[in-house]
Symmetry: C2
Subunit: 187 residues, 2 copies
Amino acid sequence: MSPYSESLRVHFTGGEDGAWAIRSITPIAGAVSLAAAPRLHMAEGAATPRAGAWTLDGVTSHMRYTTTAEALKLRAVQPPLGRSAATRAALIPIGKSPTWWALAQDDRRAIYEERSRHTTIGMDYLPRIARRLHHSRDLGGPFDFLTWFEFAPEHEAAFDHMLARMRASEEWTFVDREVDVRLTRMT
Amino acid sequence: MSPYSESLRVHFTGGEDGAWAIRSITPIAGAVSLAAAPRLHMAEGAATPRAGAWTLDGVTSHMRYTTTAEALKLRAVQPPLGRSAATRAALIPIGKSPTWWALAQDDRRAIYEERSRHTTIGMDYLPRIARRLHHSRDLGGPFDFLTWFEFAPEHEAAFDHMLARMRASEEWTFVDREVDVRLTRMT
């Protein structure tokens, strides 16, 4: 049984408290951004989100494009969240265009992996970069996906390199909203 | 642009009022059912659901398994909701097992279509049966999918035949909760 198929509701709240200090909030694409806030609180489960400047709401879910062969490779090297050395994090909310969502499954899969190598690129940075994907399109928020990454400070340059490769891909031509939030763990 | 990729939040409320009279509520699989109620109210959009015996909440979304070739065939024959002759309806909430959700995309697709012929079977009943699928797994409700069907009274036997074929498929061995609600339009 894959742990990655479970539904876990997660609230990300930017505000006055939380375990993560927000170092930067950088709008990458689109008109939507997030207000400045000193801290980020991540709450797992169905609890009511705490008050803050903003809350983004997502849910972990089953894999939408990954094949069995890819999933086996990923599981062999994917690290968990919460590693003690992983004191840096990034929260990257993105939205994709109506054109993307109108594509059929086979077309989206072909762009995602056969042409943009999304999983293949990500694999190059494992196990340095821990990642958890949260879906938010069906929840009706301003973004479609909230991806949370954790890594040690010495791997932030590699993380930036991974993002540059992703953003240069055909898949990213369908990304019409993106914000890049960088964080440092305080507790 | 496919109209089927748009996100539309829909509340189904069983209670004292609504345009549809509930003729029967039949538990098909699993321990979960729905309380008896005389009427069903369907509300589209983000409005707060009205009070009632129960409310099920879903969202229309992009197609998860359909290929471009299948989508083109479907669009050519899929009828809209709200046809004046379609005075009968069915609401069929289902849930799938953790085993299903732990499968990778290629395995789920193979079971869904190559082995169970889900889209192919459905096509046999078009344009007699109008259908709208609502996703609810990411919303956290008791079911994963809420499917709404509309048809004329003379096509209810064909609808039953379609359901029997679906329920006999390999895909349905992963369905662990199912309720079958039948309705008649009153307004």
